[in-house]
């Protein structure tokens, strides 16, 4: 059977999804390089294709843009009397993240795409960009039209008109919504809103860490490093819980991607901080050195003597503070909008 490739997308480490068009069906392929799994959606059975914009693209833009900025600062800061190892490394990272940013901008906004058939609704992982969904739809529309016949928008309105997309007057379970049947009963037939307490805590930790980074920039000490490490580990643990939470509970879209941005910034900050610890103590590090001694070395770096390190701390503090404050604002505006909708 002949297949024509329609779209592809990489998803996770070592896994990618592709979408192919056969004579009478779509073939979704999930591959790990050594095996492939296939799912077929016959064109005569496709009832609907639903796309929902996601924040992934914006998050990737924010993260890669921040990393370009940090690399730029670190590169300029490290360039003291000619190119130094720090400025060269920062330059390489900067170019990499810039290319990532440009590639992401070129591919356009991201989305989730689902196909509905008589047996259920499935996610099409290969279609993760609005542009590719539109391209695929343009190529499929005439073929599906030949197999299923045409339908006008008036007919669609007539046949679906009885459903409206306003907040439910009856419980979601009564409408047969997915997952509603197993959900605990809620008061007054409304979906109980998540108040965003965990998100708020995570964003506050980010702001606290920004403050600690600023203090470190003024004067680095062991106590500050221990405190900021504790805050960062707490944030990382909380971020995992928060990400799991926002997967199942409705959270404002900006707050969602700011959480991802905070996590990425924190991880990138840890990696860059580790590089600084290595580069600025390159003469002291010998085989058999313990992690505790490395920790001591990090606490002993004086930002006033190393402008590149001070620049890194400043950039990290600014980015985490911006994400933290933006997250709190997003949660606040979501809360106000829920209160406005409440009768």
């Amino acid at each position: 059977m002949k297949y024509k490739r329609l779209a592809s997308s990489r998803c996770g480490l070592g896994k990618w999804h592709t979408l192919w068009r056969g004579e009478d069906h779509l073939l979704a392929v999930e591959s790990n390089g050594y095996s492939e799994e296939y799912a077929r959606y016959y064109l005569k059975d496709i009832q609907a294709i639903v796309t929902r914009r996601s924040s992934w693209g914006k998050v990737l833009n924010a993260v890669s843009g921040s990393l370009v900025g940090i690399s730029l600062f670190a590169g300029i800061g490290g360039y003291e009397n000619g190119p130094s190892p720090v400025s060269v490394t920062a330059g390489i990272f900067g170019v990499f993240f810039l290319l990532l940013l440009l590639w992401n901008l070129f591919r356009g906004p991201t989305c989730y795409c689902q196909v509905r058939t008589p047996v259920g609704i499935e996610k099409l992982h290969a279609l993760d960009r609005i542009r590719s969904v539109r391209k695929v739809l343009d190529s499929l529309r005439p073929i599906i039209g030949q197999l299923q016949g045409g339908i006008t928008r008036e007919e669609i309105i007539e046949l679906t008109g009885k459903y409206i997309d306003t907040p439910p007057a009856v419980s979601p379970a009564a409408l047969g919504l997915k997952g509603a049947a197993s959900a605990p009963p809620v008061a007054e037939n409304t979906i109980s809103p998540y108040r965003g307490g965990l998100h708020r805590a995570a964003f506050l930790l980010l702001i606290a860490d920004a403050g600690l980074s600023l203090l470190q920039m003024l004067h680095n000490s062991k106590a500050l490093v221990i405190l900021s490490t504790f805050v960062e580990i707490t944030f990382l643990c909380l971020a995992i819980i928060v990400l799991a939470k926002q997967k199942v509970r409705p959270v404002a879209s900006p707050a969602k991607w700011l959480t991802w941005g905070g996590l990425a910034t924190m991880m990138a900050g840890s990696v860059i901080g580790y590089f600084f610890m290595i580069f600025l103590n390159i003469g002291k590090i010998k085989p058999g050195i313990t992690q505790y001694q490395l920790f001591d070395f990090y606490a002993a770096i004086e930002p006033a003597e190393h402008p590149s390190f001070a620049t890194f701390l400043l950039a990290f503090a600014v980015v985490t503070a911006v994400i933290g404050i933006a997250g709190l604002i997003a949660l606040g505006s979501e809360k106000r909008s829920i209160e406005r909708r409440r009768p």
């Binding site: 296939y38 509905r116 928008r153 979601p172 409408l175």
Partner: protein
């Protein structure tokens, strides 16, 4: 074509599950879900409004001497299985890949992977052989064992069905060539050591 909303003809927001108004469908433009605010684009097709297909149970035999279904002796045969030739009633016939097949031939075809439309998983032996030939080169001494294994995988699976997608045998060829080169390298090394 007459369309009727026999089934649940609504499409829901994929973010919050709220049923959506049809006036925004097939407009080619995104719109926001009234409940969760997600930006959606929805394209619906006539199959959404088509009722469930009526399953024909097969007609009962009316006179002696009439051909009966192999699986339902009391039902009248309507067609033949294109693979095994058994008589089938309308309940048993299944059209697949342009052929009319009986349940046991479909089961056999799925088990033996003879019917491509029923294949849900394939192992890519060619990629396996190529990885077995290339990756161990990072630790060169391992290739003394892995090179023959790569050749074995490539030759043993040469004729086995691989991916159902368009794919050449170039990975098999590369795996064999690289593995042979590794074996030749070991041969040269051993000869030099012996001399």
């Amino acid at each position: 074509m007459t369309l009727t909303a026999l089934g649940p003809a609504s499409v829901s927001c994929s973010g919050c599950g709220m049923p959506l108004a049809g006036e925004r469908f097939n407009s080619g433009e995104d719109f926001r879900c009234g409940n969760c605010g997600a930006r959606l684009g929805i394209e619906v097709f006539p199959a959404l409004f088509r009722g469930a297909e009526v399953v024909r149970s097969g007609e009962a035999l009316t006179a002696t001497g009439e051909a009966s279904c192999f699986y339902h002796p009391q039902k009248m045969a309507a067609t033949l299985c294109n693979a095994c030739g058994r008589f089938l009633c309308t309940l048993c016939e299944t059209e697949l890949a342009g052929r009319c097949l009986c349940p046991s031939c479909i089961d056999k075809g799925r088990h033996n992977e003879e019917i491509e439309q029923l294949v849900t998983r394939r192992t890519l032996h060619d990629s396996l052989a190529l990885s077995m030939a290339i990756l161990p080169m990072l630790f060169f001494f391992v290739t003394v064992v892995t090179a023959p294994i790569a050749i074995y995988i490539a030759i043993h699976n040469w004729k086995r069905p691989g991916s159902i997608l368009p794919r050449s045998r170039v990975r098999y060829v590369l795996a064999i060539v690289i593995a042979l080169a590794q074996i030749a390298g070991w041969g040269v090394l051993l000869v030099r050591l012996a001399l």
